[in-house]
Amino acid sequence: MDVSAMIPELLSALPLTLAITFTAIIAGFCLALLATTLRVRRVPVISHLADLYVSYARSVPVVLQLFVAFYGLPLLVVLFGSEDFFSPTIAAMVALSFYHGGYLSEVMRPAYLAVDRGQHDAADSLGYTFRQKIARVVGPQAVHFALPGYGNSIIYLIHNVALVMYIGAADVMATAHLIMQRDYNQYQFETYLVLAVIYALMCLIAWLIVRFFELRSPMQAPEATTKAQIKNALIASA
């Protein structure tokens, strides 16, 4: 059993996994901003739709969301009269963006609400518009509350990217299955152990990045803003 030969082959599929992850992170963030704004501002019907979307993203298993996107999106596209262009990869990107957006919205909304009520009132009384209020007063404080939850949601996203092989995207998991079958399924346990290490490392890196920003936040530790201090704090907290 040669692990060292297996790792480069597994890593060759990593770009696809990362591409799906980053697409979901960026698109999901935009979706979450939109959903949170709609839910916070309480527009009659649209807010309820946003609520429904968030509960769909949070209460339905991710595998099921992937399958719904994989079978449902082509129908939707044909309905609007264009060509069916959905490969498994694109379906996975769309499904995970929606999942991540819904999950993240439930991180952002509590963070927004956790900002002291008086801060909202003060900004309103000074005549700030909604956008100015978010950008200058509430936003910076909410970011501080949201960061730990954001880190968690990124880690969950990385976990769930491991599921895209079920709709046929050729990611790291799918490559691992190919490798196992080539070895006549003798080394399944070992291959999964290697996979576990790869995913754990990805999560560790994501966690370290988020943690770095958490510690840099001036509300967290006003004194620890130089680089050396942040590094020390990172090591101490790990």
């Binding site: 298993p61 129908l75 346990f189 999560c203």
Partner: protein, 230 residues
């Protein structure tokens, strides 16, 4: 295209898998809460060596995706169990362990790491002054736990425990990879017979959302009923 005639027939079949899924979810929930409480206790009491072990456990099980843990358990648990049992001199074929047991154990292992966090948070929210007060009134530590600590900690933990119940429900859907039939796997099987994939999956989505709604409602009612009115 989306066919509405098939919905009724399909949903009857898929609903048949709901009791099994709920039973598995409940078992997993109870087991993982017990394990998580033990972990939380270790961290709360700061027991030297065990504390580092719990930390390592949490790092591992939070970093590894649940599918991989399930597959590892599927391939690793029966041989390990066989080895343990045969070295203990018990004659039992562990390779015949039913798949749902393996699934429940794997999900328990993953969720316990998160449950530990929840229960630790609830324990930390407990006011130390109350335990001082209870001791000064001559409570034994058993009485303190039963009459003062547990009711408050359980109440604080209810919202997060509801979330983890939903996490478990969702995690069980990964069992289709090792041939355990829950709501999702049943919808896949139904769809594979008549090729109405989207219809079956939409039914499953609705069932999951309804279950989530019911569980949340029950938890909210429970929390309101138990909260001490001031």
């Amino acid at each position: 295209m989306f066919d509405t005639d098939i919905l009724l027939q399909d949903s009857r079949e898929i609903l048949g898998a709901v009791p099994v899924t709920l039973a598995m979810a409940f078992t997993t929930f109870v087991l993982s809460t017990i394990v998580g409480s033990l972990f939380a206790l270790v961290e709360y009491r700061r027991i030297p060596v065990l504390r580092e072990l719990v930390f390592a456990y949490k790092v591992v099980f939070k970093g590894v995706p649940m599918v991989i843990v399930i597959f590892l358990a599927y391939f690793g648990l029966p041989p390990a169990l066989q080895f343990l049992l045969s070295s203990a001199g018990i004659n039992f074929n562990a390779h015949e362990t039913p798949n749902w047991v393996i699934l429940v154990l794997a999900v328990t292992g993953c969720v316990a790491a998160f449950q530990a966090e929840i229960i630790k948070g609830a324990l930390n929210a407990f006011d130390i002054g109350q335990s001082d007060a209870a001791y000064s009134l001559g409570y034994t530590s058993g009485q303190l736990f039963r009459r003062v600590l547990f009711p408050q900690v359980a109440l604080t933990a209810i919202p997060d425990l509801t979330t983890s119940m939903m996490v478990i429900m969702k995690a069980l859907s990964l069992g289709f990879a090792i041939e355990v039939v829950d709501i999702f796997a049943q919808s896949q099987l139904t769809a594979a017979l008549n090729f109405y994939y989207l219809e079956a999956f939409v039914i499953a989505v609705v069932i999951y959302m309804v279950i989530a709604y019911i569980v949340t409602q029950i938890a909210d009612r429970l929390e309101q009923a138990l909260r001490v009115r001031t």
